[in-house]
Every structure is written in structure tokens, then in C-alpha cells.
């Protein structure tokens, strides 16, 4: 089959916003305000090193170690920093514990504040207008859409994140997990369970 070179006479033109971003990058680089290599490193960090596995580690430790859990709930920021999870924007991290009486759920009604060091970049739905508006107004309905049905005795508390305070939900440890080690427990902790729109997996 002959290859038709005229299909692609020139490099594929990126979408308009991508060109605007390139323009900004060029200006900022020329002015010495940013380093293109630092950009690559930031992207690599958020794509491969920072993600819900960090939060899952914190949750598993809290399930296993009552002293760790106490310290975490008292002031999470230094406790997670000790594990190497720093807030790049200097934000405070607050851990809210689920109990049989209270289920916690996190939203950012302003924009999309999120505990990056523990969960990485938020999923699309967290940033959507629909979630941001409805999480506060009708949390039980939103939870039901995520497949989470709580008993009538469990109250739902919604926490609104800000640039300064980011919340992480400490989910209830599933039953049947006695004797599991930290790695096995961490594997049960889903991203959504730490936002409060899901529950941890149950062991197979």
C-alpha cells in the first residue's frame, strides 16, 4: 500500500489552548521564571509518584496503629510529612474519621482544592460543577449514585476544602481484615473511599 505523505505535510497542529500554554511557557522561560526541566519533573511526579497509593498507606497505618491514628487526627500535616508526603502549596491536611454514626465526604465548592500529596490530581468528576454543587445540597443522593448506601443512623457530614485546608477521609476498616498486614490493608483503600464517595474494598 503506497504511503501518502501528503496526508501529513507538516507537524500536527496542537489545539488552540495548547498553543497558548506553549506561548506562556516560552515567555516565562525566556524571562528565567521557570525551567522547562522543572516542568517535566513536576508532571512526572504527579503522573507517577503521587497518587492515592500515598493516602492508602496513611489509612492502613492508622487502621493498624492506634497511636499513629490519634496523632493523625490531632494534626495530620506533620504526621504525613514524616512519611514524605508534603503539601507543595503549604496547605494543612485534616483527616476526618468515619464512624458508624458519621460518614464524611469531601468537596471543594470553590474550585478543586484536594489533598494532592496524598491523593494526586483529582478525578474529573470532583472538578465538575455537578459534584461541587450537589455534594453539599444532596449528599445522600450523590453517594447513592456512587453506589454508597448508608444506614439511616449514619449522618453524612460534608467538608468543604479550601486552598489552606485539604481533607482526607479515614474510612472504616472493613470487617474480615483482622490479621492483614499494612500492604494488604493499603490495597483495600480506594481513592474514592478517601474522598468519602466510596467505601474500602472488602477482602476477596
Amino acid at each position: 500500500m503506497p504511503h501518502d505523505d501528503h496526508d501529513h505535510p507538516h507537524a500536527l497542529l496542537p489545539p488552540e489552548p495548547a498553543l497558548r500554554v506553549k506561548a506562556l511557557e516560552t515567555i516565562l522561560t525566556r524571562k528565567g521564571l521557570i525551567d522547562p526541566e522543572a516542568l517535566d519533573e513536576i508532571i512526572d511526579t504527579y503522573q507517577s509518584k503521587i497518587g492515592p497509593q500515598n493516602g492508602a498507606r496513611v489509612v492502613a497505618k492508622a487502621w493498624l496503629d492506634p497511636d499513629f491514628k490519634r496523632a493523625l487526627i490531632e494534626d495530620a500535616t506533620p504526621v504525613v510529612a514524616d512519611l514524605g508526603f508534603y503539601g507543595r502549596q503549604g496547605e494543612h491536611i485534616v483527616v476526618v474519621e468515619n464512624t458508624p454514626k458519621q460518614h464524611n465526604m469531601v468537596v471543594c465548592t470553590l474550585c478543586s482544592c484536594y489533598p494532592w500529596p496524598l491523593l494526586g490530581i483529582p478525578p474529573g468528576w470532583y472538578k465538575s460543577d455537578a459534584y461541587r454543587a450537589r455534594a453539599v445540597r444532596e449528599p445522600r443522593k450523590v453517594l447513592a449514585e456512587f453506589g454508597v448506601t448508608l444506614s439511616a443512623e449514619t449522618a453524612v457530614r460534608v467538608w468543604d476544602s479550601t486552598a489552606e485546608i485539604r481533607y482526607l477521609v479515614l474510612p472504616l476498616r472493613p470487617s474480615g481484615t483482622e490479621g492483614l498486614d499494612e500492604d494488604a490493608l493499603a490495597a483495600l483503600v480506594t481513592r474514592d473511599s478517601m474522598i468519602g464517595t466510596g467505601l474500602p474494598k472488602v477482602p476477596a
Binding site: L24, A38, Y46, Q89, P123, T162
Partner: protein, 112 residues
Amino acid sequence: MTNCPNLSAPEPVFSEPWHAQVFAVTVALNEAGRLDWPDWASMFSRTLKQHGLERELDGGDDYFNAWLETLENLLADQGTAASDEISNLQSAWEEAYLTTPHGQPVHLRQSG
């Protein structure tokens, strides 16, 4: 096992390369002390609110469009990057893409 939905399939962190780029530029400026994060968040939330008046934002492309617009406004306000400077370089990049043969790395001409 085939009827078991693959719930653990990883979602891409950024759905478009430029989402990652604009995010990284913003984080880099913050780390260089050029952008205060609470200020950023309040400017960004204002843009989102404005955009959301016209239609419901889905949290994908439109989210990063709002992000980019906020960053451009902020840098223009700071005097760091004027809007005509941005549009000139945007045209220069477009020109570079359109005149670079397919498969070759795209570079801005020095005069750009």
C-alpha cells in the same frame, strides 16, 4: 472472571498533554514564589464561577480552559506576560507547527 468489571483500571491523571503543561507551569510559578496559592485559588474559583454561568462545567477540558484563562489574566495583571506578547508567541508557535515537516521536532524560530 469476565463479568467482573475492571474497577482498578487507572484513569489518566491528565487527559490532554496541555492540561499537564499548564498545571506544571502554575505549580512551578508557585514554587518560585511568583504565585501565592490562596490567591490563585480565589482567582481560579472566580473564573470557574463565571464560566459556569453559561453552562455546566464537566471538570475536563473546560476546567483547564478556565485554569489557563486565570493564569493568563494573573500574569497579565502582574505585568509578567502581556496579552499581546502571548498572542504573538501563540502565532509564532502555530507558524512553527505548520512549517515543520511531519515527524521533525518543532522549534520556535529565534525571532519568534
